[in-house]
Homo-oligomer: 655 residues x 2
């Protein structure tokens, strides 16, 4: 086991989140989501589809008789829950919860096969079919999540039991896959193992894991194609047929396996697969110092962010394949924008920041976190979005099948329950996203209130960030180190902020701005205070002229938050609202559900719908439709759909 | 056989179309479409999917060995071709073509079973399964089309052979279906037999056909449901599974069979099924003097036209089920708007006009004809649209699966080849749509140039309509009757025309306007001339405020023609074009492909896309995007996509 390195995650999850806003989300995860998901994993939620995930492990462990039930990737829900518990224990110790998790880990260990193999679907249902269908069957995906859980549980608690389980699993995988004549020359249909093995490498320092990731990445998309080879070998059987026989095998771009990554030019296929893969590749590129892979990470990042990213930090513009479509094709109402994809986007961004502290990565990470990721969970912590539309007209959803995937309100649980536990684990591990400690500087990406310490030259640099982000413009960074420490603190200057101001101990201070970070170097000592002011005027956002779905439309943003109109505040048929160029914005303090949130109002216009239903569909020349002044009320988009079913839209007709 | 009644079609198809514009379409059908489709039916088009339709009849007739090939409704292509030939022979006799048709009719007769049954799919593939799957298998649909062909061929040529075949077929159907204990209490999954039997009733005066239609219509949607009964009876087998097992059986609204028609409130389900059904119901309601059915026709017409009709006369706003979706849900780019649905809409409108001469029916009929129906066929007569979008961005189509059904250019032929022969038969039988002769008046719905005679009180009222519709405002109606005839000529005043002017023999004339028709009563004599001027300024069209897809947009129409922007004239990324309120329109004479067509230009604006691909997706505050003056060129929408692949849009950002 190697020594903690400044770049490692070891300490970042240990920082204490003190943020009023995101702290509340962490509490929700701890008090509501984790217990609720535990009940779900144990089939104790009457109104939800059964999960059976724990029982699958009990059957695989020989502790129960029964049949496997659930998706081929059902195990991953248990793994993600364990990871969320691990991070949550860092924020607030909880002996009972830890005991529950220990019991689950004991169960997982008991379900592991002698040779290290661990997957309840195959162990229970088809032990002879292990590793025969990488393209479709998520064995490496489930392994990846369990490895992440093992690493997290070790980092959070110091307990090795699950780490040892996943090391045995990784060793087994390393024996099965590789270039050897008796090894499978394959790789996962759903990437995840790559980023997981990189994390395992960081805590174990075992180079076999790094090399195995490299093998998976380099083999991906090679010809003759592994998906075809294994498909023929197993007699052309297929696990998924919803889009036609063996479509996952055939549509290789769906899993970014249509050609070697080095040749790929665009973010393509299933959005979650893409960002999970790229998070692993970015991690590998950094630790392997692999310039070609770094260039691939940059090239595909740029395509995604410059051509295929929603203003909400959502990715995946179509339901079919939960996938990217093509450059500048970003429909607002038929969009997919899976919550998990934006979580994966944060993971990818974080690895890019570790490679190079350039605020463009952090800007996207913040956009994803404060909009799609937070929006994925209701303010009650009990309801979740899988799909995150930018525009919803509920009356239409049930009748036009292009909206089959869109829900107008968050749902309690999903048959394919990937999103809720994923939201739980990212919200409990925010420390990983707030900072990147590098030898030359401590980079601060997100202004989430927290207390942390980072080792610098044998001393601890301790910081406390406070404020009321993302609502207030003032951020206070207090140095609380007991000993003076010479170091650079590099503060991200967000892309949405035009005139950031910084005072050091109440005085103007000099600092160099490099790639979006203000670098402040000095001998920091207890009592030093950085006062960062990020002015947050309401800003209008316009689309690139190549974005045809938002031509003639405008969005409203304040700080990192994208706002939207809801029917509850503005009446129905939101497309009849108009935001004129000259109207000014005012901030109002939210009440009730919106307490402690900032809402926005503006003087707009509204075309009357009165008697519209008795008028013709089309009329000539001067419109008989009256336009009247109308106060428009915008709420933060992440908080939409907390008042029942109603229309919503981000992009408003206007100037 | 009854005597010709003034309301019958007997003479209307005999009128001679002399119209420069639609006459050219009729010539295309005669010279290109009918021969091409004949080759297609005989599998002589190398690049098209095989049809096998003629060979299926040869096999069923025992003249050839072989297997059935094609759709379960493949026979209908032969029937529709025969109908188009019949109508075409009225316009221009052609001995060779008539001989070919006679041979086909002989073949059809040979394929008919002893008991009158006629359907090659069942005869060849599954003779024991006749009438076991009405919900899915199109037997009555195919019968309907053959009946229509038999009626048309008799009306066009006086030849009874096919008429006798279809009477035997109808008699067979009348024995199989009905309320008797040994009869099937069923009705077609795809309506068509209803309107066909009504036509057969009109030429044969056999009341059994009328009563059979009434049975089919009244039984539709009754409980216990016939689809379920036959499904159970045949052991739950299903012919179509593309949307899940037996989806046509289960989704009863798809075929307007979810409840009795008398209870239905909205145009619903498969759009072609809906309009075919309603055409038959309207015909029945009139001849049966059935007030309840008339109310149903009006109620569902109103829902369709006031809530679910595209500006192009297209219906069916979604691809899934080629179906209506819901009120005011009319997306422009994911629309279906099948060509056949607009043809069926014309058929429905025509029956409504026969029931009551109210120009609102004719306005919709004209809109469908001059826009979607004409647009369904390329200017070369060799390429066809099945789906008729109002907006296309070709670069995106292949990547976002919501566009899977949309083609950016017309295709040569379709695997399911319903549209091309349907376009052929409607364009060759325009006479049916131009006039409704009633005892009280001769209603003129469409200003298509033609020569016709209608019997009035034992004399002939003969008219010749000329002009250059829809390009020129002047329409000349000359009376050419050898004897003076006292009668009313009722001229439709189109909804798109604000100030129609009429001169009678060069003088102002008085006439009463009733339900959109100007009634001119006098003793008409040879030499009388009505000069109708329908001013055709370019008009802006706006959507009802409940139409969210076209909020902030404007369309351009002149006369009955809807115009559009194409990339070929206006450059790419048409969403960046803007039509300001104050800009005026100028007419220009088209050239080349657009010879004899009127194009429209206007001073507009264009947001620059220069360097857009190197800019960020979103920008704040004042847009850096430059707007420049840009001449906008609009072409008639029916003529789009005749210059290769490119963008097109009808609804333009503007005021």
């Amino acid at each position: 086991m190697n020594q903690p390195d400044i770049l490692q995650e070891v300490d970042l999850h240990q920082l204490k989140v003190t943020d009023a806003f995101l702290g509340q989300y962490q509490r929700l995860v701890r008090d509501v989501v984790i217990p609720y998901q535990w009940d779900a994993l144990n089939d104790r939620i009457p109104e939800a589809d059964p999960s059976h995930a724990i029982e699958n492990f009990e059957i695989a462990a020989g502790r129960k008789e029964g049949e496997f039930y659930g998706m081929v990737f059902q195990d991953s829900d248990v793994a993600k829950w364990l990871e969320a518990v691990a991070w949550s224990l860092c924020q607030k110790p909880d002996a009972e919860l830890e005991k529950t998790a220990d019991d689950v880990i004991e169960l997982v260990e008991a379900a592991q096969c002698e040779d290290g193999y661990l997957n309840t679907w195959f162990t229970v249902k088809a032990p002879d079919e292990r590793w025969t269908n990488l393209a479709e069957c998520h064995e490496l995906y489930c392994a990846g999540h369990m490895i992440e859980a093992g690493v997290a549980f070790f980092q959070a608690t110091g307990k090795r039991r699950l780490l040892d389980v996943v090391c045995r699993l990784a060793d087994h995988i390393d024996r099965v896959f590789g270039p050897g004549v008796n090894q499978l020359h394959g790789y996962p249909g759903h990437p995840e193992i790559e980023l997981a093995l990189m994390r395992l490498y960081e805590v174990t320092d075992n180079p076999r894991y790094l090399n195995l990731v490299n093998y998976f990445v380099e083999e991906r998309g090679a010809q003759p194609h592994f998906y075809d080879i294994e498909y023929e070998k197993r007699g052309r059987t297929s696990h998924w047929n919803i889009h036609g026989p063996a479509w996952m095998v055939k549509d290789k771009a769906y899993s970014q396996a249509h050609e070697p990554l080095a040749l790929q030019q665009t973010a393509i296929g299933h959005a979650v697969r893409f960002v999970y893969l790229m998070a692993g590749v970015a991690h590998l590129a950094r630790l392997h110092k692999d310039e070609e892979k770094r260039q691939t990470c940059l090239r595909l990042w740029d395509n995604m962010v410059q051509r295929q990213l929603y203003i909400t930090g959502g990715i995946g513009s179509q339901s079919s394949g939960e996938a990217f479509s093509s450059d500048y094709d970003l429909p607002n109402d038929t969009v997919y924008a899976e919550s998990c994809a934006s979580i994966g986007l944060m993971m990818y961004a974080r690895r890019m920041l570790q490679m190079e502290a350039d605020s463009r990565f952090a800007d996207v990470m913040e956009r994803a976190l404060y909009n799609t990721v937070l929006g994925g969970m209701a303010l009650d912590g009990k309801h979740f979005f899988y799909v995150n539309p930018l525009e919803v007209h509920p009356k239409t959803l049930a009748f036009n099948h292009i909206y089959d995937h869109v829900k107008p309100v968050r749902q309690r649980w999903f048959g394919c329950a990937c999103c809720p536990p994923n939201i739980a684990r990212v919200l409990t591990s925010l420390g990983h996203y707030i900072y990147t400690p590098q030898p030359e500087a401590l980079y601060v990406h997100l202004y989430v209130g927290n207390e942390m310490a980072v080792p610098v030259s044998g001393k601890d640099l301790r910081l406390k960030i406070s404020g009321n982000y993302p609502w207030d413009e003032q951020i206070d960074i207090a140095v609380t180190s007991p000993q003076a420490v010479q170091h650079t603190i590099a503060l991200r200057l967000p892309d949405w902020c035009e005139n950031p101001q910084v005072l050091l101990n109440g005085e103007n201070c000099e600092g160099e701005i490099r790639k979006g970070y203000l670098h402040l170097n000095r001998e920091w000592q207890e009592g030093d205070r950085i006062s960062l002011t990020l002015p947050m005027p309401v800003r209008r956002v316009y689309g690139n002229p190549l974005l045809r779905h938002i031509a003639g439309k405008v969005a409203v943003q304040r700080g990192p938050l994208v706002y939207c109109l809801e029917e509850a505040d503005n009446g129905a048929e939101l497309h009849n609202l108009y935001l004129p160029k000259e109207s000014t914005f005012s901030l109002i303090e939210g009440k009730g559900l919106f307490a402690h949130k900032v809402l926005i109002q503006a003087d707009g216009e509204r075309k009357s719908c009165e008697q519209a239903s008795s008028q013709a569909l089309y009329h000539y020349d001067n419109s008989p439709v009256k336009t009247a002044a109308k106060k428009l009320t915008f709420i933060p988009w992440f908080s939409w759909a907390n008042r029942g079913e109603g229309e919503m839209r981000i992009w408003v007709n206007g100037e």
